[in-house]
């Protein structure tokens, strides 16, 4: 819908004022003001670039997942929800305006509610690497994502156990699952091969399991890696097929995040899962109720604090 209250085209004086405004003296003043502003901006960039504490954002992107991990000037984005426009609004809010680079993007598995928003991110931000499995999908969204990845010449990193991303400030994100490299083929049961990532920052740890179902959770427990974490992003938006009792006791989290859309048609999160979490006396934080859920970590030695957005 277009508006135009204030139409000045008839207002001739307005045109004249601008010609007056553009006299040499004023032009010089304007340029000086712009330069001063620029200097201030550059100094604030330099000042803030020295900080390297960790922030973890579970973004409320409706029914879907999107997790932004930001350590100083370095960002990692895990999944992108399904709506690129919404995701870009969230990123604009949490990434400083001068930083147009996301160092690495992770696509846990090729479902639309996880990769839909990534296409716009790859087009908008300068993204260096993409961490994903070889699992493919025949959906238009996945085909588009693939096209944009090759068009932008992103470095592809195969997501399998032991693939690790190290941030300069000490944060380490390591892939725990899938255990081996996947074949390059359309994956009918895409959730089964969701990338699970453990994020460690000193004393603090986060476990992010994509849409991993219970059977695979068991595989993950049996693989022998340390999955004990403070914060768990509940698998598959709280679906009944994820987050088994065994898995919960192996992780022993204090907080769980459920990334889920309001009144979604899947009935996520499932009541059984919620009961299970309550029984284990674990905090439940839901994006549909709280919006973006943010953890601020000041130093590797102290505990991360969940803050209101």
């Amino acid at each position: 819908m277009t508006f135009s209250h204030l139409d000045l085209i008839c207002h001739w004086e307005f045109v004249i004022c601008h010609f007056t405004f553009m006299t040499n003296r004023k032009l010089t003043y304007s340029i000086i003001i712009l330069l001063v502003t620029l200097v201030v901006i550059v100094f604030s960039i330099i000042f803030s670039a020295r900080k390297n504490n960790l922030d973890v954002y579970f973004l409320n992107v409706g029914q879907g997942d999107a997790i932004l991990i930001s350590e100083g000037q370095n960002q990692m984005l895990i999944d992108g929800g399904k709506d690129g426009r919404l995701l870009l609004q969230k990123l604009g809010k949490y990434i400083p305006f001068w930083d147009r680079k996301i160092e690495i993007v992770v696509a846990t598995h090729p479902d639309q509610d996880h990769i839909g928003g990534l296409i716009d991110v790859l087009r908008t931000y300068k993204v260096e690497k993409i961490l994903k499995t070889n699992a493919e999908s025949d959906s238009e969204v996945y085909q588009k994502l693939k096209e944009v990845i090759s068009q932008k010449g992103l470095e592809k990193v195969d997501a399998k156990k032991d693939a690790t991303v190290r941030f300069p400030g000490g944060t380490v994100a390591s892939v725990l699952f899938p255990l081996t490299s996947l074949p390059e083929a359309v994956d009918e049961a895409s959730n089964d091969n969701s990338v699970a990532i453990k994020l460690v920052y000193g004393e603090n740890s986060f476990l992010l399991t994509g849409d991993l179902p219970s059977a695979k959770e068991t595989e993950l427990i049996n693989s022998g890696v340390d999955i004990k974490s403070d914060v768990l992003k509940v698998g598959h938006h709280g679906s009944r097929y994820s987050t088994s009792d065994d898995f919960l006791s192996a992780i022993n989290p204090t907080d769980t995040i459920i990334s889920v859309g309001k009144n979604n048609s899947y009935g996520h999160p499932n009541q059984e899962v919620l009961d299970r979490l309550l029984r284990n006396k674990i905090n439940i934080l839901r994006t549909d109720e709280m919006g973006d859920i943010i953890y601020k970590c000041q130093s590797p030695e102290s505990k991360c604090a969940q803050v209101a957005n």
Partner: protein, 524 residues
């Protein structure tokens, strides 16, 4: 009422007899009145014939009287306007293809993405009918793509009772929506098989290029300015508020600031100024600089997809620039009426079914008619675009558009005056910076990034100020049940008051006076 107004205006003309410009005004007004009357009321076929016959007889009998001849032309143009509208309305009601299957080639004329999909306006190659196609977001289609379409034609549905989407589309000649054939895929999701791309760049060569440039410029802004500032930057330069998140869209409508993201006379004026400055700077003569600006405006209005408000501003801006080139300034009333008549001649349905058209013309009319009164009463003629100037212009425009906004959007902003005062002065700077950002992206991307930091400052200021102002509980009031009757009553009272003040104060129209002419000449 109109006749009285005209009578009163006569003494302001250069001589006692009706000047040519006044005749021109009356005839175009009659045409617009014809369009108006037929847009809102059915007219019996008989009445047209009666009018024409009476008109001709009158002219034949009194052909020696000049005034009668003017009336003759006025009536003829009135009938012409009504008839033109009639024929277009009849076309929109003829939906004989409803329910039929369509299969064939179609050219994409317009594609507008939304959150989860895209709306395409396509024109079929064989039958030349325009269709609305709603499909998922990917794959993306653009202007000039040739598609193979297979679908069922349906008349366009109104999704909510509040907004006549059917007529909104019909005014642009789009009568059917075309629902592509769907078939479930192996995984249960619906796949759209009805649309396949078979060619690219099949549209108008010139338009292809111009849209390519626009996309490049938009892309450059997107790369360096984060959301939601990017959406504002895009809106300020290319028009459109639909890229904002809901909350920001609400903030803008609560503070009555949506107009800054609609390309209107304001933007066009700023662009014209900058173009003239550039023209002079690169060493063009004054007249050539004006041609340069006219050319630039036309290009710009086409580039942003010809929305009504921009076309109006473009036509009027061009008229004013042309007048400037020739050393005489147009009468602004005539410029408005001419722009309106030309647009309605091309598409008479705009008058009733394009809110952008209504707002654009009413706001301009408000500024032309009321601001001289404000100025006369309380504004000292000092520096133009001082705060008092912005207040006068904002108030004038708002008084005229208030009922249209209340009727269509059920809101009236109380804080908009303050918002305008705080925001408008830096809009030209914002436009310039955003434009430089998009241009630098083509030439030297790192410069584009640095400029983006600068452009970010006014953009974020505008968004934050608007957000803060929108939080006040009294920032705006919701208006429900503001019916057409109220709108009519409002305008009758408004024009009544205008007429009274005009007689009382003897305010001179148009507002372009000799002083400003000499000033503008001195400047260029």
């Amino acid at each position: 009422m109109l006749k009285k107004e005209l009578k009163n205006s006569v003494p302001f003309c250069y001589n006692k007899a009706m000047s040519k410009s006044r005749i021109f005004f009356i005839i175009l007004l009659a045409f617009i009145a014809g369009v108006f009357v037929r847009s809102f009321w059915e007219i019996n076929q008989m009445i047209y014939w009666l009018l024409i016959v009476a008109d001709i007889i009158m002219a034949a009998v009194f052909y020696k009287n000049k005034n009668v001849l003017i009336v003759f032309f006025a009536i003829s143009f009135f009938v012409f306007g009504a008839w033109l509208t009639q024929s277009r309305i009849v076309k929109t009601q003829n939906l004989k293809l409803d329910g039929q299957n369509f299969r064939g080639e179609a050219l994409v004329l317009k594609s507008s993405p939304n959150a989860f999909g895209q709306n395409l306006i396509v024109k079929t190659t064989a039958e030349k009918i325009k269709l609305l196609v709603q499909i998922p977001k990917y794959p993306e289609y653009n202007y000039g793509d040739l598609l193979n379409v297979e679908c069922t034609l349906k008349s366009i549905e109104n999704k909510n009772a509040d907004f006549d989407y059917q007529m909104y589309m019909a005014k642009d000649g789009v009568l059917y929506q075309c629902d592509p054939v769907k078939s479930p895929t192996s995984r249960g999701a619906e796949q759209f098989n009805g649309v396949n791309k078979i060619g690219e760049n099949k549209g108008n060569f010139f338009l292809n290029k111009i849209f390519l440039v626009r996309n490049l410029l938009q892309e450059n802004v997107r790369k360096v300015i984060p959301e939601p500032e990017r959406a504002l930057a895009d809106g300020i330069l290319f028009g459109g508020s639909n890229q904002f998140p809901k909350e920001i869209q609400n903030d803008f409508s609560k503070t009555g600031m949506t107009h800054i993201v609609a390309v209107s006379g304001y933007n066009v004026t700023i662009i014209a100024e900058y173009l003239i400055l550039i023209g002079i700077w690169i060493g063009l003569w004054r007249k050539r600089a004006v041609w340069f600006a006219i050319f630039g405006i036309v290009l710009f209005v086409i580039m942003i997809g010809l929305p009504s408000s921009a076309v109006r501003a473009g036509v009027m801006g061009t008229l004013l620039l042309w007048a400037m080139k020739n050393g005489r300034l147009a009468n602004s009333e005539n410029a408005i009426i001419f722009a309106g008549a030309v647009m309605l001649l091309i598409n008479p349905l705009l008058l009733r079914w394009d809110v952008g058209f209504q707002l654009s013309f009413l706001a301009t009319l408000g500024i032309v008619l009321i601001s001289p009164i404000w100025e006369k009463s309380f504004i000292k003629k000092n520096k133009a675009l001082g705060i008092s100037e912005i207040i006068a212009l904002s108030l004038s425009a708002q008084v005229f558009v208030l009922p249209i906004i209340a009727y269509n959007f059920h809101i009236a902003s109380l804080i908009s005056l303050l918002a305008n005062v705080l925001i408008l002065p830096i809009v030209p700077l914002t436009m310039l910076l955003v434009f430089l950002v998009s241009l630098a992206g083509l030439i030297f991307p790192p410069l584009s990034l640095v400029l983006a930091w600068l452009a970010f400052m006014p953009l974020t200021y505008e968004i934050n100020v608007i957000h803060i102002l929108a939080q006040f509980p009294w920032a705006s009031i919701e208006i429900e049940n503001f019916s057409g009757c109220w709108v009519t009553l409002y305008y009758i009272i408004l024009f009544g008051i205008m007429l009274f003040i005009k007689n009382f104060h003897n305010v001179k129209f148009p507002m372009i006076n000799d002083k400003s002419i000499s000033k503008s000449k001195a400047q260029i």
